[in-house]
């Protein structure tokens, strides 16, 4: 027999419906818990306006809160606030007087009248702690909640009760509620990060664990934890059959024709070593072949990137004008890793991107307030890109010179191939070298080549068979250390 899935009432809050796998269940009683300032009022108000905008009616019942005028003034700064809906489909009512004067029973009758008269589809009770405090006994409080639950069921109205916390899991409010969402704020160094967790969601599945969220002028936006959201890629990755040319003939030759389509390739190199130009070659070559490309840049602005590429003959400006290449620039400072990754995936999907160049992928890691998550998130990102047959090229920063030539640990396992760009010091000259240090599932030329950057971009030169320790960055010729074979004056950096 087929499983019957309960229908859902979308919250209209970006990301929250993903966490809730569709939204709240109509007629349910939900708790929204969090300390003052955690975002309960913004979230429940956004729910109310979303419900009203989609044709429903919301009753926003205040018990312990600011005045309605102040509440509306504060809400008016958010994009979801729609003044014409206030009084028409979003009704603000104060329940404090009946509660204080006559207790929960009087408040229940007020709610019943409101729900029946206005065909309310969403009831928010802000400051619901006052209910508990005003009830003469736990039994009376439980009785109120029981009656409210029945009322919600028969009117198919969904209720959200805002509380500072659910003190005890044995609390009657917890036992009777269909769901509990908690909001919290983490202090990490000097940053404060808002997070949300669904502690209970009766009768339906949801994304477990904490998910970060932001409150901005756009309102409340939840970013489901990427490694949880993409626990399984959206599609099963196919075996790569075709090669994607990087647009640098000598490098394509080292890779038996190019990198495998749908594979993730890291380009490790020092600042100025040519990573960005290689990325521009890759995207220009894709555009030439009719494959749409995207740059996600964390350091260089679109103008600077375009200028650099055009300066060495890569016509990225033309492809930008044609729309076959796009550049997104974003500072990693104070960003949330899930916001970056999910924004990127949305863009990839919306624009049918086939080639992706992330300039400074390690910046994503530095943006994360939870470093232990970085490898999980990046692995999930690469898996999802593979599943969508997108070929990502990821530029990774390395020291200018020295022994370090490995991809940082968190990233190495997620990459199918690694290209290393090195500055090498030899007899008071700096030379640029390139090598393919890893190409999973593919033949490749393991030699170390010198390369230059000229009027036609990156040009791969000859091998260095007579020098040693090139990857260390401090090469030596056999014997007493002569100039490496094949080196021509002027090819140094």
């Amino acid at each position: 027999m087929d499983e019957v899935m309960p229908s859902r009432m979308p919250t209209g809050v970006p990301g929250l419906d993903v966490v809730l796998r569709g939204g709240l269940i109509p007629g349910g009683l939900y708790l929204l818990a969090g300390a003052p300032g955690s975002g309960k009022t913004v979230l429940s108000s956004q729910l109310s306006f979303s419900q009203a905008a989609s044709g429903g009616a919301a009753a926003y019942l205040t018990l312990l809160t600011e005045t309605h005028a102040r509440l509306l003034a504060n809400l008016s700064t958010f994009a979801f606030f729609e003044p014409r809906l206030v009084g028409e489909r979003v009704h603000l009512i104060s329940g404090l007087r009946p509660l204080i004067e006559s207790g929960p029973d009087r408040l229940y009758r007020l709610i019943e009248d409101e729900l029946r008269r206005k065909r309310t589809s969403l009831l928010v009770i802000d400051g619901a702690i006052a209910l508990f405090e005003a009830a003469p006994s736990t039994a009376e409080f439980r009785s109120f909640l029981n009656r409210l639950k029945v009322l919600l069921e028969v009117t198919n109205c969904t209720a959200v009760l805002c509380l500072p916390s659910v003190r005890d899991r044995d609390d009657p409010v917890h036992a009777l509620a269909d769901g509990l969402v908690e909001l919290a704020i983490d202090t990490v160094g000097l940053r404060r990060v808002r997070k949300l967790v669904v502690c209970k969601f009766r009768g339906a599945s949801y994304l477990e664990g904490f998910h970060t969220f932001e409150i901005s002028r756009r309102g409340f936006e939840v970013y489901p934890r990427t490694e949880c959201l993409l626990r399984e890629p959206s599609e099963m990755p196919q075996r790569a059959a075709r090669r994607a040319s990087l647009g640098v003939p000598g490098l394509d030759a080292m890779l038996a024709g190019g990198i495998l389509e749908g594979s993730a390739t890291g380009v490790l190199g020092a600042p100025g070593s040519g990573k960005t130009l290689l990325g521009m070659h890759f995207l220009a070559e894709g555009a030439r072949r009719g494959e749409r490309g995207l740059v996600l840049s964390f350091f260089e602005s679109p103008d600077r990137l375009t200028g650099q590429a055009c300066g060495v003959g890569i016509p990225i400006d033309r492809y930008l004008r044609e729309g076959s290449v796009e550049i997104t620039w974003s500072s990693p400072n104070e960003q949330l890793i899930d916001a970056i990754v999910q924004g990127l995936l949305a863009r990839v999907k919306a624009r049918d991107i086939r080639r992706l160049f992330i300039d400074g992928v390690d910046a994503i890691g530095r943006a994360s307030v939870y470093p232990e998550r970085v490898p999980l998130v990046l692995t999930a990102l690469c898996d999802e890109l593979r599943a969508r047959n997108v070929t990502p090229l990821l530029a990774i920063e390395a020291p200018i010179i020295g022994m370090e030539s490995n991809v940082p640990d968190p990233m190495s396992s997620m990459l199918d191939a690694t290209i290393l760009l090195r500055y090498v010091e030899l007899r008071s000259h700096l030379y640029r070298f390139i090598s393919v240090v890893k190409a999973r599932g593919s033949a490749h030329d393991a030699s170390i080549r010198e390369f230059s950057i000229g009027a036609d971009g990156i040009h791969i030169e000859s091998t260095f068979e007579s020098s040693e320790a090139l990857l260390s960055g401090m090469a030596r010729a056999p014997g007493d250390g002569g100039e490496p074979e094949g080196t021509a004056e002027g090819h140094g950096a």
Binding site: T67, H68, A69, R70, L72, A73, P83, V86, G87, H91, L92, I93, S94, G95, L96, R97, P98, I100, L110, D113, E114
Partner: protein, 119 residues
């Protein structure tokens, strides 16, 4: 002495307005929802009604419509205090407002202070 009925579901605001207007010499009655407000106005027949719009049990516009239907209350001056701007013909105090603005509107509605003779 002139009388005023305040209909407002936000208790703290209603009580503050009541105290202020009493200190100015008015006789003030208060109701906390539209239904109770209607009943209070029919009983008191005040010189001015000061009402909110969004309230439980009966909203302000419905209450004003019922006042309009009754000859005894149809001509009572009304001042609407609201953060929203629904369609109605009455003077409006946009929430949040200052007490001086309230005083001005009350004086205008009554044609003077608490002891004024004209309405």
């Amino acid at each position: 002495m002139k009388s005023i009925v305040i209909v407002e579901d936000e208790v703290d605001l209603a009580e503050l307005l009541q105290e202020h207007l009493e200190s100015r010499g008015y006789r003030v009655g208060v109701a906390f929802d539209g239904k109770a407000g209607l009943s209070r106005i029919l009983d008191d027949l005040p010189d001015v009604v000061l009402t909110d719009i969004m309230m439980p049990l009966m909203d302000g516009l419905e209450m004003l419509a019922k006042l309009k239907e009754r000859p005894a209350t149809a001509a009572i001056p009304v001042i609407v205090m609201s953060a929203i701007d629904p369609d109605h013909p009455h003077p409006r105090l946009r929430k949040p407002f200052r007490l001086e603005e309230l005083d001005d509107e009350i004086d205008r509605a009554l044609g003077g202070g608490p002891l004024a003779s004209g309405a």
